[in-house]
Symmetry: C2
């Protein structure tokens, strides 16, 4: 199993969501998709969203598009960025407990809505709408988003990511070995094939 | 021409110094080696040395060794890290004005001294010793390290790196296109071959 951590507001996480399944198929190791929140992580690391850092921010904006084009992944820099993604996170884990395959589908649809169609997925209504479009029970999901048990589930997942040393998005852990960044997928693949080095 | 910016105290810069010439040969575009200082850059970006950042620091230490092993580059985490590298920088540019090929040789020797032999190259005496070992006139270099003109030359180079948007090490710029990190050399190579995308 490979843990694939991502934040719904992360451009590199989005790109990873579009290409990680190719890596997964090639190396034959299933991935567990695990959204988390960068906000609580930044509190621990003292870091800030990439685009807010002088110089690095400009570079990052350029690199988001360039990396997306390199992978033939459609990408449009969202009007509102970054955004809070706790509703998307909760929706994902609620669904993941019932149907992990469908949850992955939802994650990809949420990412496309935000990074291709420019939809602000911080709004629970947007998450419900997107879920509905995939045939997911939006009424049950609306209730779940307010359910303390689901809120707690989300919190536990974020804590687990922190405990695992996840400080950025995307982040992969395979056999205890961490890989940060979509640009490290080739290294991860080589690592798995060779059994490390 | 490809500008190759690096800081002498940067492990990824060191690894790049050991592998960038392979890229240079393969793509047939000469590189101009341009050491700079991360200190003044961090003042602008508000960033800190990688290893001082919670979580990211631990990951980085692991990744320095892992990346070095991947490239078959010898690497030992220095006892004192990071260090000030202004003497190394000044020595480089003093020599670069006379003999760029020899300056590159000096850069590689300084890097090896620090990241393989654990020599603290922040000390001018260590820089002189290493230069001497390469047949460089150590007496002339000792004078140059105190020469206001050389100090000014070094300062100008650091300012030029900042003006070019260099915020990390290593950093490459080819035809105005920036690439940050030794792990981005494959992307730089693809970019040059395809003429961008």
């Amino acid at each position: 199993m490979i843990d694939f951590y991502f934040e719904f507001s992360s451009p590199y996480g989005y790109i990873a969501s579009q290409v990680a399944e190719e890596t997964e198929k090639r190396i034959g190791r299933p991935m567990r998709w695990r959204p988390f929140l960068l906000g609580p992580v930044f509190k621990v690391t003292g870091q800030a969203p990439l685009v807010e850092i002088p110089m690095k921010g400009e570079y990052s904006k350029r690199d988001f598009s360039r990396t997306a084009r390199m992978h033939d992944v459609p990408f449009r820099y969202p009007g509102k960025f970054p955004i809070g993604t706790v509703a998307a996170l909760r929706a994902f884990y609620w669904l993941d407990d019932q149907d992990p395959k469908k949850a992955r589908e939802l994650a990809k649809a949420l990412y496309r809505a935000y990074f291709v169609d420019g939809i602000d997925i911080s709004a629970p209504a947007a998450v419900l709408e997107i879920a509905k479009g995939l045939g997911i029970d939006a009424e049950a999901l609306a209730k779940a988003l307010e359910d303390p048990a689901i809120k707690e589930r989300g919190k536990k997942e974020v804590d687990a990511a922190l405990a695992a040393g996840v400080f950025g998005s995307p982040f992969f852990i395979v056999d205890g070995e961490p890989f940060w960044g979509v640009d490290r997928l080739p290294m991860l693949e080589a690592w798995v094939r060779k059994g490390g080095w």
